[in-house]
Amino acid sequence: MQIDFTAQGIHLPEIDLWLDAQQTCANSWISHGHSDHARGMHCRVIGTSATLRIYRLRWPADNDTPQELQSLDYGQSMDFHGARLTAYPASHIVGAAQLLVEWRGERIVYTGDIKLRPPICGSSTEVIPCHRLIIESTFGLPIYRFLGREEACQRIASFAAASLAEGSTPVFIGYPLGRGQEIVFALCQAGIPVAVHGSIARMIPVYEAAGYAFPGWVPYAAKDTAGKALVVVPNFRATLEASGRNTRSAYVSGWAALDNARARAGAEELIPYSDHADFDELLAIVQQSGATEVAVVHGYTEAFANILNARGVRASAPRALAARAEEELPGA
């Protein structure tokens, strides 16, 4: 099957299907709800129900643009222009999915953003056997290794508890969709009172609809932070610090695997946990898929492709999906 990698996204011309199209097009598969993947007013949008819900929140319906939203949930298949499409969990954010495209005996898997180990919130990944694999490499260098879910939750809770115990306000820097809710979830589960900043709070219902309970969180209010852990977006940390409150910040991210994240994020505590695969997980996904040809489409694409080639897996780094990731480094 022909695969075109373009700045507008990945295109499968024989069946006219785009994978995470960057511009409005006829038919696009949307792997998950982050804004660098779910964008544009495509005529036909295919994704999991949760992803479509997030997409609709961020790209509200427009009466002048009729759209067909077609859900394809984990394990479901559909026929599409002569190919068979099946969605599988990608354990990235809620709703994130891999897409298996079967066409004339060939199996192609597009991972979207993915991690292998179970996330704090979300489904566990299955690695899909395939001939050709299209994979991301946000953290495709051996310096990136992350904590597992349990250890990350435990670090989040213990940092919050220790800060509160000494009279400081713990501040967690998260992202509006994904990490933010996972941190809130970890804190709620540990029974720590938490106040959540606007754009993170806005997406909590999406997680609740997916079956995750967030007992006891309140929306962030500047006057009412005593005794609470705060979960805020990166830019808001500076505002909090400027307010002169006694705060201690923690940065929960894959980038927190490097010490320079302290200066970048303005955080004391670094908790290296991500909704992306770390380096070892990326290698494991490639290996377990059995793919003989790999296209690396995001992050350290050339370096990771070189690493795969050195291990005997034919890999390339086509220039595509040049858009900025939602998990943008603060200060970068």
């Binding site: 051996p142 310096i143 010490d259 200066a263 070189n306």
Partner: protein, 538 residues
Amino acid sequence: MDNLAAACEQVAGYSSRLRKIAALASYFRTLSDIDLERAVRFLASGPIAVDSGKKFSVGSATLREAVLQVSGWPPDIAALCYREVGDSGETIGLLVRGKTACEALTLAAAEIYYARLYKARRTAEKVQLLQEVFSKYRPLTIKYFVKIITGNLRIGLQSKMVEEAVALATGTPHEAVRQANNRSGDLAAIAKAARRGTLHEIEARLFHPMDFMLAKPLEALSDLADPENWWVEDKFDGIRSQVHVDSGRVMIFSRGMEEVTEAFPEIALAMQSVEGRAVFDGELLAWRDRRALAFTVLQQRIARKKVTPAIQAEIPVVFVAYDLLYRDGKMLVDVPIEERRALLETALHHLPPLLVSSQSLAKSTDDIDYFFEQARARGNEGLVLKRFGSIYEPGRRSGAWQKAKRPYGTLDVVVTAAEQGHGRRATVLSDYTFAVRAGGQFVNVGKAYSGLTDQEIRELTRIFRSSATDRFGRITLVRPEVVLEVAFDGVQKSPRHKSGYALRFPRILRWRQDKSPADCDDIEHVRALYEASLAGPA
């Protein structure tokens, strides 16, 4: 060593200075006397004892070779990793994960490795030793093992804080530890003595550079409230240095704490005639016809690899002493300036190449203005004012000394290249190469990396990333669009830049968003400034 690494990680994780010190102190408390000495030495002065003589030298190429061997990663991947991380020790620690036996490393064993690395002559031998370390111990320990070698821990721990942690851990007043450290410069020995209560026995030790007292910049002479309470001296534009003498043995240290004795043989020779033991504070200057020559002239002499008699005759130098920190077994830093001055005057003969800086007394601000003009007319930078009765405060900029000078000039320049910083600035473009106009082109005249706020640096990083024209490793070439105003202390000839000139001590005053590259200064202006600096006082 494993615990030292853990303590360092803890220190890195605190932003409060007090917490950092407390964390380090509680680690120190767990150590035996001998381990305390080792840990303090590693943190305060590096892998080997301060008075070992020869420099410890394990370069980045040696480290790289060893980590490539152990990790098995190809050079380009390792280089990319280093670029993302911005620190050798951290990168190596991350790359050897999964490749090491994770054995425990004691401080004693680490000390032996450092000693063997120090003694090793051939690079291959050093690589061999490092490979052993990188494949045997815990990644976190290896991270700090290397950071101690590269000399920058990047955990927000200044040497003064180690001093404070030693004081805290041993229950000793910080001031006592500070003074002892200034006497001997051997904090490791001091830590042991502090624990045993024998701090007073720490004797002054010559031939290690002590901290210099620094002067606070005075914005305007008229800001001085009490002009009649200060000793007034000229501020020289030379090399601030410390000369240690012990009956014929002489060492000269510059402010960067480097030993520069060999570059100034005539000073070393003259100092041999000083009787007894002494430590002088003063300035090295190029000198002719009883006045100082511009720093650019002195620069020409320093640039020479070998100091021949011909160059000594062509560019003679003098040492102008202005303080005496130690004399015949007695530290003088806590003695009032007047007494130190009296002792200084008897210690030297006041004949070139050894001079004593003249002091004057002012009755009014007008007098000081007059002295300032006189100093400028003599080709000096301005004035240093020293408060009556003040003590010598090593390493401090307390305000007991004040300096009044005028920047040599300012220029509007355009940025042509931006370089990734290190440590906390590893992810932004913080070091800027800048240029002036030359015909229709721009030619570089210098590089600066201070003066802007973090916010401005972040904003400029975004601009430079989008205006990048090429990239060489850490350096990004950019379209000449951003205009900065820089101040500098002089112009010198430089083979490094295409323009043939380089600004001295350039610092960024502000980002001129109101100016375009066409408004920049041109190379003719820079050349004229250089010619003027050779001709005499500005």
